[in-house]
Amino acid sequence: MVAKCCGFDFSGNESFKTTECTMPLSTQSQADDEKYVLVASLDNARNLSNILKAITFKDHAIFNATPNGLKVTVEDSKCLQANAFIQAEIFQEYTIKEDVVGFQVNLTVLLDCLSIFGGSTLPGVSTALRMCYRGYGYPLTLFLEEGGVVTVCKINTQEPEEPIDFEFCSSNVINKVILQSESLKEPFSELDMSSEVLQITMSPSQPYFRLSTFGNSGNAHYDFPKDSDMMELFRCTKTQTNRYKMSLMKPSTKALALSCKVSVRTDSRGFLSLQYLVRNDDGQICFVEYYCCPDEEVE
């Protein structure tokens, strides 16, 4: 995995992606444009990097681009899968020449490139991104610009693995709640890490929605009543108690921190689906979802 950075341009020309630009790199990329099967541009690279950070618990990510947008998948030990969805509308430019474009890259390297200008949080200062991919066997090319300085990064790609299909479908969902993330952020950040599992209980009766840990010093339960102000939707049909490995649940805390709402669903097998609604810097909506296998079934 190599990210090769080259090319610094100090022309001071701010508008990087317009065709009137006189920068040599941009001119060069104009000619190459025809060769790319995927071109996606963002005025603010943070709109991509922030959401990718919510799923970075493993190095490798599978990119799957369709005309609808970009889906990035990260998996762990066949038990956990995280997906980030960035719709085509989020991008300032989104061109795809095939029905499906897929590749695998090192997510850590990609994030490092996206924040290559240091990730300044000054208002009005942002890194512009132009992500280009020529197809199978070619590296993923990133053109990043901030304040007139351009960096080109080429990240080696790999054959994309097939993401696991958790076969989680809405028709199989037994219990579903939608909560405002604010109410879950504190419990999740306080979770007793000495507990091997996080137990989730969902029920049409007391305790309605409960998170439990069993640590060295004792047990902890977080109860959310069905009529809480924080509970936007409560649809539980049957009492279910499932346990999930704490190590698999912890990564989802990052997604929770970014999100404003979260939907928690369990199906008849006890599989867990967490869906997070994330608003980016420009107020646009993206989604992150986590799927997790239960550790064991407890009735």
């Binding site: 109410s183 419990p187 010093s217």
Partner: protein, 429 residues
């Protein structure tokens, strides 16, 4: 036992738990008719703290819980590490927690702490406890000849000037003055320490009674949590103490709670004279282990151990890792500083007749080096710290004493390298 706390009470309770966590590893919960006592003692039994919350502090307080009649109340011991995380973030508690209920359930050996938060959210923690005898320290504060009372703020502010890593502090009191200084003893490596000393005039105290001059040395670390609690509560702190070796007691109280910290003091806190031979440092485990242990009565503790403080103890190195200076030279310097007429056992407390205002004095070893060369201390003292602001003033002296010089006003040292009192004070604070 079942009790309910509301609103700010939860925060106060949490602060008490935080203060107790600075003392020992275990937390004793002792529900009594007169209230709920939270106690802790350190491993060496040299520090003990007790927070007693009267029934008035709670929205609800009952011994026995529901089905069980109030029989002999259970005393439980919890591991502080399991309780502290519940009260770690007090601002979050203030924001979210509406009510807190604590129940001791005998059949299951659990203490259940429930937080009823905003939006109907409930957090329930079920912690294992060990049944235990009550822990209680005996201390006859009415027998202490010396009693002081000061706003917590005053004591906190004084303690602020001492490095956070400082373990032991010496409190000296005479009818005319109150002094805090860091504890030091003659030893090979005691040149690595920065010495700080603070004095207050009796007028600064709400109550000042010193029946017998005394110097007591105790562990400061264990006091900080208590002072922080007292300060947040804006309550005055009372200090009861006697001679070295007897415990010192810090306490505060209001209508609904009483807090006490008992600290053991070193048996012998007198500084040695300049002729004291410097022996090899005695390796010690926690310093406070060597102090006279508190008369703590408890099921498992040994009590009434009295040990003599070793002649030399490990000292805390300064952050700059200053090189060592021959101790006799220091002894000499200090004594000369205090008494220009010749070396004497320095007792800084009596050496300074200060004006009636707070005086902060930090002595660095080289302070009087220029005076000492004639006295036969031909040790070439290395530079300890360079004071860049005054390099101009010190140019003349640079080769001899290019070090940070701070002096007490009354010394009137003629050396041109000596900074004025005011500039030194500004430099430090």
């Amino acid at each position: 036992m079942k009790c309910v706390l509301e609103g700010n009470g939860v925060k106060v309770f949490g602060k008490a738990v935080q203060a107790l966590s600075r003392i020992g590893e275990d937390l004793w919960l002792d529900p009594m008719v007169k209230g709920l006592a939270l106690r802790s003692v350190n491993a060496a039994h040299s520090a003990y703290a007790c927070f007693l919350f009267s029934p008035m502090f709670f929205q609800h307080y009952s011994l026995g819980s529901g089905s069980e009649p109030a029989r002999e109340t259970i005393k439980c011991k919890l591991v502080i590490k399991s309780v502290l995380p519940l009260f770690r973030c007090l601002t979050a508690i203030e924001r979210n927690v509406e009510r807190c209920q604590i129940t001791i359930s005998t059949p299951t050996d659990r203490v259940v702490i429930q937080f009823f938060c905003k939006y109907g959210i409930t957090k329930t923690y079920s912690l294992r406890f060990q049944e235990s005898e009550a822990l209680q320290a005996e201390f006859a504060s009415h027998l202490c000849p010396n009693v002081l009372k000061a706003p917590a703020r005053l004591l906190s502010d004084m303690v602020l000037h001492f490095p956070v890593s400082l373990e032991e502090i010496t409190l000296s009191a005479t009818p005319l003055r109150f002094t805090l200084r860091n504890y030091h003893e003659a030893g090979n490596d005691h040149m690595k320490t920065m010495y700080t000393e603070m004095s207050l005039h009796p007028d600064e105290f709400d109550f000042f009674q010193v029946g017998a001059d005394s110097d007591v040395t105790f562990c400061l670390k264990e006091l900080r949590g208590f002072l922080s609690f007292a300060e947040s509560h804006c309550l005055p702190v009372s200090v009861h103490f006697a001679a070295a070796g007897k415990p010192v007691c810090f306490s505060m109280e209001d209508m609904v709670l009483e807090a006490t910290v008992l600290l053991a003091t070193l048996m012998d806190s007198e500084n040695t004279g300049p002729s004291q031979p410097v022996g090899p440092p005695v390796p010690t485990s926690p310093r406070c282990a060597d102090v006279a242990a508190l008369p703590v009565v408890s099921h498992e503790g040994n009590s009434r151990e009295s040990q003599n403080a070793p002649a030399v103890m490990e000292l805390i190195p300064s952050s700059q890792g200053s090189p060592m200076i021959n101790p006799p030279a220091l002894r000499h310097l200090l004594s000369t500083a205090d008494d220009p007429h010749g070396p004497d056992v320095p007792d800084e407390a009596s050496a300074m007749a200060t004006p009636a205002s707070t005086m902060i004095c930090s002595l660095l070893f080289r302070a009087l080096a220029s005076e000492q060369d004639d006295d036969g201390c031909d040790v070439s003292l290395p530079v300890l710290a360079c004071y860049s602001d005054t390099e101009d003033e010190m140019e003349g002296d640079y080769t001899r004493s290019p070090s940070l010089l701070i002096s007490q006003r009354r010394l009137n040292l003629p050396s041109p390298g000596v900074n004025t009192w005011d500039s030194a004070r500004k430099r430090l604070f």
